[in-house]
């Protein structure tokens, strides 16, 4: 279905099955597979983490690991060949920024179930993306 003529669709993936389900939905919506962009956001490292203290892990390393793991996972789920982006920081901001940078036409995101306590304190990533994004956001209820 040519829902959005040649506009990029951004799909955040956090390795949960919900987020891959969102990717399936996005694949149906996009005109072409080449318009799909997958983004994975990693938290910043803690300065007192053992790997940081001993300088055995760094962001470049983590990016490489995560991209590799994501590509393997995408291959398993039949989404090979998608453009993958790995960012660091707050997921809500990074996703919205990435979509803006691409001038994306849509963000497809699943509203993930968190514990009541964390939801109260944090809200969900989806809430934040809706608030910050400059383009339409499709929030999939699980």
């Amino acid at each position: 279905m040519n829902w959005l003529p040649r506009k990029t669709v951004v799909v955040p993936v956090d390795f949960s099955s919900d987020s891959f389900a969102a990717l399936d939905t996005a694949a149906k919506l996009a005109a072409d597979k080449a318009d799909l962009r997958v983004i994975h956001v990693l938290p910043e490292l803690e300065p007192a983490e053992p790997g940081v203290i001993w300088q055995t892990i760094d962001d470049a390393d983590r990016e490489e690991h995560a991209a590799k793991a994501l590509e393997a996972e995408l291959l398993k789920r039949g989404h090979q060949g998608l453009a993958v982006r790995v960012c660091f920081g707050d997921p809500g901001h990074q996703i919205a920024d990435y979509a803006e940078e691409l001038d994306a036409g849509l963000i497809v995101i699943s509203s993930k179930g968190k514990s009541a306590l964390k939801r109260l304190l944090l809200g969900s990533v989806a809430d934040r993306v809706v608030r910050l994004a400059h383009c339409p956001v499709l929030v999939l209820k699980r």
Partner: protein, 612 residues
Amino acid sequence: MIKPNHRTSWHLAALLLLFVSPAGPIHAQDASVEKAAPETLQEEAGELAQPDVPALPADSGSPPATPVPEDPDWMEDVDVFFGKWVVTPLYRVLFFDFWSDRWVPAGTPEKVTCPNPTCRHSHDVAALYPDSKPPIVIPCPDCGTDIPTGAKVPLVVLWLFVGALFFTIRMGFINVRGFWHAIQVTLGNYDKPGEKGEVSHFQALASALSATVGLGNIAGVAIAISLGGPGAVFWLIVAGLLGMSTKFSECTLGQLYRKVDPDGTVSGGPMHYLRDGLSEIGLGRLGAVLATIFALVCMGGSFGGGNVFQVGQSLEMVRSMVPFVDAYPWVYGLVLVFLAGIVIIGGIRRIASTAEKVVPAMCGLYVLASMYILAVNYVHVGPALVEIVTKAFTPSAAYGGFVGVMMTGIRRAAFSNEAGLGSASIAHAAAKTDEPVSEGIVALLEPFIDTVVVCTMTGLVIVVTGVYDSSRFPECAEFIADGKGAPLTAVAFSTALSWFPWLLTIAVCLFAYSTLISWSYYGERCWSHLFGHKTALVYKIIFLGFVFLGSIVKAQNIIDFSDLMILSMAFPNILGAALLSGKIRRALDDYWHRLKTGEIKTSAEMQKGIES
């Protein structure tokens, strides 16, 4: 210029405290009306001490260390509130002693003081019972109140000791049979390329050590000896040796249930193994509850033993050396807040990295300095050893009897080496290995280095030089009475060389700083586990608030609070680990079998195999 600052510092601290405690200033004022809390605090302070220690004045719970406290009433209100609603309830549960002072004799005291707050009369025991031995509970001749003269057996200390004994037997004395293998694994002789994790075995051990080697080794041991006498050193070592098995068990679990994220980073620790491990054996609900309790008390421990205690005791050391800091202790607090803040909030990694890397070297230097003092006093070493062993089994009323000495030693050992508290497994989970048991075996070196080597050195130096005996060193009486452990150790060091205390001061500051940084990481992990990674900044700000509090508040109940929080981590952790002990034992037996049959090869053997 200075005065207004001073005032602000007190207010800031008080505000922070209120921020942390759930209720507002109205309650704090309520509590100040009823002066019930200091009484219970006294019990704590006098615990294990001889019964004839003169009772502290009722409001001595918060003598401010600063020379000119501008607003002591305000601080005292908060202090009383804190004592009444936080420390006392916690104390009642954790240090519940089954009224053991009514059936465990502590020896024959010379004098007793009536615990009734309206009576408080002192009585000469020899005058009351001239010919026969006095009973464990003496009725006060004036008001009839029972005066217990026995030793206390606090629940948490018993729990730690029984736990350590259980793991030692359950794991077939792994602390002995795994020792040599532990050294080999730490040296990297069993490393394989491509194993998952963040750091090498040695690096993981050093990281965990930087959290454990701190003021507990320098000040804590001095406190133990001033409360329990030389015999406490014996029980400290015994608890350290048994604690090796506990440490092995918890760190193996940490590795077994760690989570390796897609980016290659690792997270593990009691929060993970209590929840996931217990749900595996059908106790999912209990596991979730224990994991949450652990995360909460571990955050508390990171404010207390990993923070306030370190700052407070290192400050005592610094102020005995630097007159300026003695006059303005809050400056020391601010410096530490700044140095910790630029790392944990500012993200400047180099400082933390350097501080943690010098810990093993500092440890070595400290042990060498201690050995020098022992060498200078070589004639006293033999008698000191005899004294340590004999006093460990001689009931002395002054130190709370046989049981009192034992409890003091075990308590300080656990505080120092963290065996049974579960915190170290957070750091050990990061080790690069595919064999969970091998990291557990590396971890058992930790109580050995921390307690059996470093604490014993401090203990020997103090016993050999005799500074714990205020009849020989009258200048130390104040340190002993006020629980200022670090200066006591400094006096012991200065008997040999006058500049040694300076070396000690530098070591103490470094140990305190690296312990702060490491514990902030433990606490942050627990906070993230409960409230998510995004809000971790809140935790860090509270953490820095406590760093500052540690430099200005001298209140006994805040230090007691740290002791309580850090030791209470043992409840969820040891319970969970004991329930999972079958799993650890199976993993250990499997590993040991493969090691003995040569299936697990050293790196050198593998290299040979590839070449041939």
